[in-house]
């Protein structure tokens, strides 16, 4: 019999497959992982502490930097929390603009995931394809608010800028383009034998485990749990549109892959309807007091970000700054299941499973 020795291996924080500065210490018995301990905090900036000294409008740029792949949804969860507290009316055009940018953001975010996931697994060209198409959305955002990643676009009561002339038509033109590209992606990757062998049946868990670990987004829906906050607890204008929530059955990396690609399609469907129903004019800012002071009390709101349920818990004492601001970050919560999934897996599967969770470290650490 061959004697094997335990090997302690450090992965990250500067490893490209950890998607940022995330570190994981694994114990290996030969090729097989016996224990995995995630270490985080390398990107902890104390957003929640900083927010206690800032007024609500000043906090918005900080939310951009949490999940910097999906800054629009982060913007929304904060302003939505404050608006819920103050019971504000949002002009319809502003709400449409928010919904359109959030769905565009979902597409962009899933494209980043798709490209980098395949890059992790060893396919170079899909990454280039995904970033080529994501660039169109980034350029649209750049035109709208002058930034490519950290948009600072939404405000309590509406949005900062209305769509520039011709912008909405560009969004409309993007929809058929992207639908065509999705077919191309499927042809290029989704049926690839080698790729399927790497992800099918890997990182499996059942619905009860997913619920116990508080997973959300594609990580929850891959087990067949029908829970998409856009449908389950509708916010914004989502109850006006028709779209489906893709569900998996096996709870493995393959199901998560299929769901995310399908979600891009569904987002495009929402975008198409939103473009048709969008009012042609109107205000983009509602009636908001000059200094935003939500009444004393507390609120918890939640929305469906590309990564799952992002929540915002605000305790207000009636001042212009929050007394306590807590973000429920989906990446942080979803990552908890990782040590459990990794036991008994090989190092190659570590990359597959970690990538499949879809984390953004800015959001894990906050």
């Amino acid at each position: 019999m061959i004697r094997t020795e335990e090997l302690l291996l450090n992965v990250g924080p500067q490893h490209p497959s950890t998607h940022g500065v995330f570190r994981i210490v694994v114990k290996l018995d030969g090729e097989v992982i016996t224990e995995a301990t995630p270490v985080m905090g390398y990107l902890h900036r104390g957003t929640e502490k900083l927010a206690e000294q800032l007024n609500y409008t000043q906090i918005i740029p900080y939310t951009d930097r949490m999940d910097y792949v999906s800054a629009m949804t982060n913007n929304y969860v904060l302003v939505h929390a404050v608006e819920t507290m103050m019971n504000l009316e949002i002009p319809e055009r502003a709400e449409f603009m928010r919904l359109i940018v959030m769905e565009l953001q979902r597409v962009a975010s899933h494209l980043v995931w798709w490209g980098t996931y395949l890059l992790d697994i060893g396919a170079m060209s899909p990454f280039l394809y995904a970033f080529r198409d994501r660039e169109i959305i980034i350029n649209l955002f750049n035109e709208l608010c002058g930034a490519r990643l950290t948009y600072n676009y939404m405000r309590v009561g509406g949005v900062k800028w209305d769509a520039p002339p011709g912008w909405l038509d560009k969004v409309r033109d993007f929809i058929p383009y992207m639908e065509g590209k999705l077919r191309e992606y499927d042809k290029l990757v989704s049926g690839n034998e080698i790729f399927l062998a790497r992800i099918k049946g890997i990182g499996r868990y059942d619905a009860a485990t997913a619920i116990d670990y508080g997973l959300s987004g594609a990580n929850l829906r891959c087990t067949g749990v029908d829970w998409d906050l856009r449908k389950a607890e509708p916010y914004s204008l989502y109850n006006r549109f028709e779209f489906d929530v893709p569900l998996g059955q096996n709870g493995d990396c393959y199901d998560r892959y299929v769901i995310r690609l399908e979600e891009i399609k569904q987002s495009l469907r929402i975008l198409k309807q939103a473009h048709e129903q969008m009012p042609s004019g109107g205000e983009t800012m509602g009636k908001v007091p000059r200094v935003i002071r939500p009444p004393a009390g507390e609120v918890y709101v939640r929305i469906e970000s590309p990564r799952g349920e992002i929540g915002c818990h605000i305790v207000s004492k009636g001042k212009a700054e929050p007394y306590r601001l807590k973000f429920r970050r989906p990446s942080f919560v979803n990552l908890q299941i990782l040590p459990k999934l990794l036991v008994g897996e090989t190092m190659t599967n570590l990359i597959t499973i970690l990538g499949g969770v879809d984390i953004v470290v800015g959001e894990v650490d906050c």
Binding site: H44, D64, V112, G146, T150, G214, E283, Y300
Partner: protein
Amino acid sequence: MSEEKDEGQKPEEKVKASAESPETPAAAPTSAEETAVSAGSATLEKEPEAAGGSEPPAADLEREAKLKAAAEARAARAAAKEAANAGGAAAPEASADPEREAKLKAAAEARAARAAAKEAANAGGAAAPEAAEPPPPPEPSPKQPQLDAIAQLIRSLVHEEALEDAYINEMSRHMPTIIVKNEHWLKAAERLKQHEELDFAYLRNVSGVDYETHLEVAYHLVHLGSGRELAVKVKADRSDPVVASVTPVWATANWNEREIYDLLGITFTGHPDLRRIMMSDDWVGHPLRKDYEPLDSEV
């Protein structure tokens, strides 16, 4: 993603830029006050048209006017600079310059249009919300029966005195909220998850709050499927904060409790691995406490 660093500065710059922008259109009229009089007649002719032709939405009109004014202002400033460079005789020469005069006229027009649009917007906007304001509903919250049932169950399943308070948080979409006494929390948590009528299998969020008089942990629960929600709060003494860990009940509480331990210093008894998670292991103090003072003031 490494992109974050490259783009990190942008919003600050943008904020600065937007703060400056209102000044830009205003700069033009002051630099050319004398000639504004001659532009006056044109303004009068234009003004009724701008105010009367309210078919285009006020916001668009205002925006357009602003853009126009900004462009004009830039041009006017450039012209003034040129004129100043030309020498002592610059002022009369400049006002004689027909091109410049036209520009100033346009700027004044834009200003007037903007003012008209703003007035129209104010008049329109003020009326609408007043009419839409509903009187505060005096009837009890629709979630009240839900809350009563939950409170009743907890009292009978856990302890007669298990609840400190039960109320509806109307601000948070009528969230049923219960305050569970610290010593009964673990048992209550088990019942909340396992009892078939309660069945809160999904713990969506755990927050810690420092209220200065006491510390508090808030748990947000939801029943997937029906969407029933419940907020549970547990208070802890500030000098020796201890709360029972619910990690054995909901696995998701694990890192959430570690984060609260790290940032607020609440000890969760029964937690399998209570270590700091965000700050480094040798960090002194708990940053989210209201009286927190950094050990090294330069950090």
